[in-house]
Amino acid sequence: MANDDLDNTQLLRGVLDLAVLSALTKSDGYGYEIVRRLRESGLEDIGDASVYGTLRRLYKAGALTSYVQPSEEGPHRKYYGLTALGREQYERSAKSWMRFRDTIDSLVGGR
């Protein structure tokens, strides 16, 4: 439904950083791969440009590092990975999100 899509988009705006950081906790990835991981996780509405913009901002903030990975099969790709600062940010954001989620869950469940 259109309203649900709008809600998801608005909800996503607040947790874009956490979503992108989460996609990189297990392994480094390049832009397209990160978009794909997020969509496979259920965030089908996430925009390609939003992911690249978030990557840029997190990189500038020192939460991400980047390097170019040579590839035998295709062009060299720019990989992103979490820095120590990024991992700290991820853990703090994850805790905040879980507290927020529990609060909303209790509100919704208490109806």
Binding site: G47, A49, Y52, G53, P70, E73, G74, P75
Partner: protein, 356 residues
């Protein structure tokens, strides 16, 4: 390392997207475009494999909306072009004939730029211009040195052969050393990758300095007429006046003596240090040319500092044999090719040696 061959869809999309990135630094534009090229190729491949039509505007949004979303999430301002400026002007300044005229002009410019931006040649040109960035980084250092030389030494540039070189505090050598040092800083500045170094106010200042530099070069270019056929008017016509009137650079057919054409108000004779001038003679007290002999211009001690020009020297007269074999008078200040003044006593000494 396999090369990435871009599909037509990706190429077209990036060409339409690039103008919306114009407010980003060149390095950032290049990095983003490179990353997006790979991304869009992957999007195209997946769409093709699944049997979808490859329409990138549908798959990832229009170029304008893509950049707008990118900028919003990246936390940087998005400039959508002249139409946004028009809207801001209209909103901020309300009404008035000046605002109306400005809005109309910007609207015309917007329409014109949109037409030009859509052309293939323009997109190719825009794509090529960033390749010239390193040349500009060096050029701005040289231009800035010339401007400083013009402000503090009275003459910001001279020539070695036909190549203009910067001067600073009256010294070509100092100007070249300073320009080289400044060029290294300029290149390092141009290649910076992280946060912008300059504030918006400082950027305006740098822009103004660059403008002054271009203006300096433009005026210098306007003053230079290039070699023309020398027309002599009679016995001993003042060469300085001939330079002003006719704008020619070379007085005679040899390379050792020529006139600085950058200053047509007070032309200066430039003499190559250590050279022997077989057709160069000085006037005696009766304003007759001493005939015969050769003059060797001695190597002069380095004179640096401010002021560096002819303020402390008297002008001297000399005669030059023209290509037609006649003698012509030159009255002015004499400089080495390094821009250092030749003192009048050197002229006198050389003249005495010739006469003896």
């Amino acid at each position: 390392m396999p090369e990435l061959l871009l599909s037509q869809e990706t190429t077209d999309y990036l060409a339409r997207l690039t103008p919306y990135l114009s407010h980003l630094r060149y390095e950032e534009q290049a990095e983003l475009l490179e990353e997006l090229a790979i991304h869009l190729e992957s999007v195209c491949d997946v769409a093709e494999a699944s049997g979808d039509s490859v329409v990138l505007d549908r798959l990832v949004g229009s170029p304008e909306s893509f950049v707008a979303e990118y900028c919003e999430t990246a936390g940087i301002p998005f400039a959508s072009g002249p139409e946004r400026v028009v809207a801001e002007v209209a909103n901020e300044q309300q009404t008035g004939p000046l605002t109306g005229l400005l809005t109309w002009l910007l609207g015309r410019l917007d329409a014109m730029s949109s037409r030009v931006a859509g052309r293939e040649k323009w997109r190719a040109f825009v794509g090529f211009v960033p390749e010239l960035a390193p040349a500009w980084w060096v050029a701005r250092a040289v231009l800035l040195t010339m401007v400083l030389g013009e402000l503090f030494g009275g003459d910001g540039a001279t020539r070695i052969g036909s190549i203009p070189v910067p001067r600073l505090f009256g010294s070509t050598m100092f100007g070249m050393v300073f320009a080289t040092w400044l060029a290294t800083k300029s290149v390092a500045f141009g290649r910076r990758k992280n946060k912008p170094v300059l504030s918006s106010v400082a950027s305006v200042g740098v822009g103004a300095i660059c403008f002054l530099a271009f203006a300096t070069i433009a005026f210098a270019a306007a003053d230079s007429h290039g070699p023309v056929e020398v027309v002599y008017g009679g016995a001993y016509p003042p060469i300085a006046e001939s330079v002003v009137e006719q704008g020619f650079e070379h007085l005679a057919s040899h390379d050792e003596l020529y006139v600085d054409r950058w200053d047509t108000e007070q032309p200066n004779a430039m003499i190559q240090v250590g050279s022997t001038l077989g057709t160069f003679f000085y006037f005696d007290g009766e304003v007759f040319a001493e005939d015969g002999g050769q003059v060797e211009v001695p190597r002069l001690g380095k004179q640096m500092g401010f002021p560096g020009r002819q303020h402390h020297l008297e002008p001297a007269s000399a005669a030059v044999r023209g290509p037609d074999g006649d003698w012509y008078r030159l009255h002015g200040w004499f400089y080495t090719e390094f821009g250092e003044p030749v003192p009048p006593e050197v002229v006198t000494s050389a003249s005495n040696q010739m006469g003896s």
